[in-house]
């Protein structure tokens, strides 16, 4: 996008402390089959420019859907005007931490461009899935989807940064709903809420083996109709990686966003109990809990070359052997706290100002085989696939519901349980963790819809996890 430097030049001319301009173009494809019928084959394109300015020590931001030079320069002037309005209430002048300035390019490595796969091939795959998951009298609704995203970006700043990136995402999933009288149950694959996504090509969808799992998922949805209710009380639980991904997301990822910690999200998403004085002091989890943030894991939905303020992707330890050691940070937070910017500033398109967002927040694999972990559990519940989520405004008290549970008795899977749910207090919960399965069971689950900020922004994030055991957790549907 050739007009970004002109906008930056104009802002330099008018006088500002700092400015950056981002062009973002997104091309999106969504295919949805509902009840065997193609309800959506949608393609969208969206492009525009967002300009961020610091003037008189305060932020201003404006975005425009036009790529015309005149419109972009006018938008830059508007961002400057807004920054000056912000300055009227500023308590402290905004400063940015020093980072290396790059002129570079980055492309998502892919094998098969998802936009090159013919539509009829994708529809055929989803139709075959539907044929299997709908093949039972108790099935009342099915949905199968796949999608693809291309993102082209350019970032230019008054400091001399000039970075272009081409990112590719692919994803797919399906769900089956069963009903018997008043009882309604659901199973999804490979994960709930649009499946599993990655910064990969169509090979990611192929490797999901959607068809191979369809019969089992349908049968589990039917089985749940007659399953016993999850009992209430204290139990050991083993959490499958697909559910643990959301547990990490809500109880670790969000509370280590340093802007949130410093209070900037307090009116909407809330604050965080993981305050700066707890770095190096809070025993967040047991010794087997190692959580790290990165934007470099191959295929992770939070993987890219540079964030939206030009900081190169990297890896940061968040929890090391159970000890809380790191944050997701930005240049502004670096200047305020000393925690280095680590490539976590991301904006939802050109329209929005970057915020600190999760990237890939991963629980490092342990050394257990899943079979051994089940055999080692005398009286436990194995819970899989998220159904509901809730956590308080400091990320301490949480409650999650799952699609399916399996009671474990004497080291063996005993019976299915419907409506399994568990609740806990974040550090108590993670300190009760005593076993993490090894890399054979480890997968980075891509979540394409993490909400934060006002106006609300949606980010694409990921969480690596494998089945993990927690001791003596409160379980039960209405606990």
């Amino acid at each position: 996008m050739e007009h970004l430097p002109a906008a930056i030049d104009r802002l330099k001319q008018l006088g500002c402390d700092y400015a950056d301009a981002r062009w973002v173009e997104r091309k999106n494809e969504t295919i949805v089959l509902r009840n065997g019928r193609v309800e959506a084959v949608n393609r969208s394109t969206d492009s525009g420019v967002g300009i961020r300015v610091i003037a008189d020590g305060a932020w201003g931001f404006a975005g425009v859907a036009s790529l015309a030079e005149g419109d972009i320069i006018a938008t830059a002037e508007k961002a400057l005007e807004i920054a000056k309005a912000s300055a009227t209430t500023s308590r402290e002048k905004v400063k940015l931490g020093d980072v290396e300035i790059y002129q570079d390019t980055y492309e998502t490595p892919i094998e098969k461009d998802p936009f090159e796969i013919p539509l009829d091939q994708k529809i055929q795959l989803l139709t075959k899935v539907n044929d299997i998951i709908s093949d039972h009298e108790k099935v009342v609704a099915t949905e199968a989807n796949c999608g693809a995203l291309h993102v082209n970006k350019r970032f230019v700043s008054t400091e001399g940064a000039d970075i272009t990136q081409h990112l590719v995402e692919s994803g797919a999933g399906y769900q089956v709903t069963t009903k018997d009288g008043d009882e309604v149950q659901r199973r999804t694959y490979p994960n709930s809420f649009r499946g599993d996504w990655a910064t990969r090509g169509w090979e990611h969808v192929e490797e999901m083996k959607l068809l191979d799992h369809a019969e089992k998922i349908r049968d589990e949805a039917v089985l749940l109709l007659t399953a016993d209710e999850c009992p209430s009380g204290k139990r050991d639980i083993i959490i499958h990686g697909d559910q643990l991904a959301l547990q990490i997301h809500e109880s670790n990822g969000h509370p280590v966003e340093l802007d949130r910690v410093l209070g900037t999200e307090i009116s909407l998403a809330g604050g965080s109990f993981m305050q700066p004085e707890l770095i190096g002091n809070l025993k967040y989890g047991s010794d087997v809990v190692n959580i790290y943030a990165d934007s470099i894991s191959p295929g992770g939905l939070g993987t890219f070359g540079y964030d939206d303020e030009g900081v190169k992707s990297t890896r940061t330890d968040i929890v090391k052997n159970g000890l809380f050691v790191g944050y997701l940070s930005s240049r502004e937070c670096q200047a305020l706290t000393g925690h280095p910017a680590n490539g976590a500033m991301r904006a939802d398109g050109w329209q929005n100002m970057p915020l600190i967002r999760m990237i890939n927040i991963n629980l490092a694999p342990g050394d257990w085989e899943l079979e051994d972990l089940i055999a080692d559990s005398d009286d436990a519940i194995f819970m899989q696939t998220n159904k509901s989520w809730s956590i308080d405004d400091r990320r301490v008290n949480f409650k999650f519901g799952c699609e399916i549970g399996w009671e474990i008795k004497g080291g063996k899977l005993h019976r299915p349980l419907k409506n399994p749910a568990y609740t806990g207090i974040t550090p108590e919960f993670w300190n009760s963790c005593d076993a993490v399965c090894n890399e054979k069971y480890w997968h980075i689950w891509g979540i394409p819809s993490c909400g934060k900020g006002e106006p609300m922004q949606s980010a694409h994030v990921a969480h690596g996890a494998s089945p993990t055991r927690f001791r003596s957790v409160s379980v039960g549907g209405q606990s």
Binding site: D120, T264, Q275, L278, R394, I425, Q478
Partner: protein, 459 residues
Amino acid sequence: MSRMIGQDKFYALADEIISKTDNADVEINFFHNENALTRLANSTIHQNVLKDSTDITIRVSRGDQIGVASTNVVTPEGMFDCLMNALEIMKSSEPLEGFPGPAEPAEYKTNDTFVQATADFGPAERAKVAAEAIARGKEDGLILAGAVENTSGELAIVNSKGVRAYQQLASYGCNFVAMGEEKDDPPSGYAALVGRDVSNADFEGTYDRACRKAVLARNPVEIEPGEYDVVLEAAAFVELIEWFNYISFSGQAVQDGRSPLAGRFGEKITGDMVTIRDDAYSGNMLGLPFDFEGVPRQSLTLIDKGVANAVTQSRFSAAKEGVEPTGHGFGPGSMPSQSLPLNIRFNTGDHSLDEMVKKLDNGIQVTRFHYVNGLLDTRKAVMTGMTRDGAWIIENGEVKHAIKNLRFTDSMLECWKRIEALENVAHPHGAWWSAIGSYDVPAALIRKFVFTGKTGKGS
């Protein structure tokens, strides 16, 4: 200053595109939106943003074969590319059996949903409100956070059958959280406001209320979870209703069997005090008189004195049921089966908020909830969530002391049977579609509300 594109230009662009193809029906939706938001935290403005965007979605259909494409390039060339994309998709797609095609032209009621003063509310004016809120907080040693926002836009629905629908919209909103600077258990108070005419906005009353609540929330004590009589202020009650709407009132949710209303129409599913309507033509904020398919928006009584009565239907879901569409479809930008009420009005009662609080011998008053989720068991409408920004033990009708946050988990179908009183006024609340619709909800007195957990320190 808002720059409207205007009905004439939208219609001209649409007509030009429709003229480019004579072998397919064409539906075009325009949504132009200018959103400005000033966000404050730690008693300073930390974000001040403006975004101006126009989304154009084109759905083409030939019989039951459809294709959809969208763009934000508002030029004849950009829209032509979008049309070609949609036509290409239509050729490759499978037929959608039962797709009824575009809506026929209809008469729409008139709703005035645009106020120029709201559209023109600028960054300096928003910053002034923020500065005044911050100054008010200082009087009580409180830190202010929140947002002041104004949105203006226009929506046009055009199709090759002759539908022409256009509406201008404007709305404002603000929310404030006032917090103490105590290290442990800092008190906080919350208040919010939405409306269409910013010149009538009581910003001062709103941030003052947040501050007064924060002062009252100091030194909270921990109480054990259990069953308590509660007064849920409107900001708390609306979160339950918003989730109930999401899981219950679409025809699709009924067809899939997951709605609490599915198979129970005409049956009493909850308490007498529960009457929920969807009505774009009344309430604090008028809504769109048509849906995104160009169908006139009907007013519906969804639950009538506890009895399951109606849900919304898009043209596609209505055709499947053999009923008339209700004017709540989401149109080309969503799946044809999707619909939802956007203008929920919960019936009011005959008590003031203070009168309801005075009826509590030993209960809890709740300002609002955090992170409510209604997907635990949608047939029973089981929901869970946490209190936040101010909850108090009430003894003999008087505020005794603030309490630390609690988690509730309960079936709303059962819980709402225990509603004893409703506030005599409904308060407007926004949602993610607040530029278009809104919720009007009163406070509620509910007996034996089930709290199942309490917050911990976390460290």
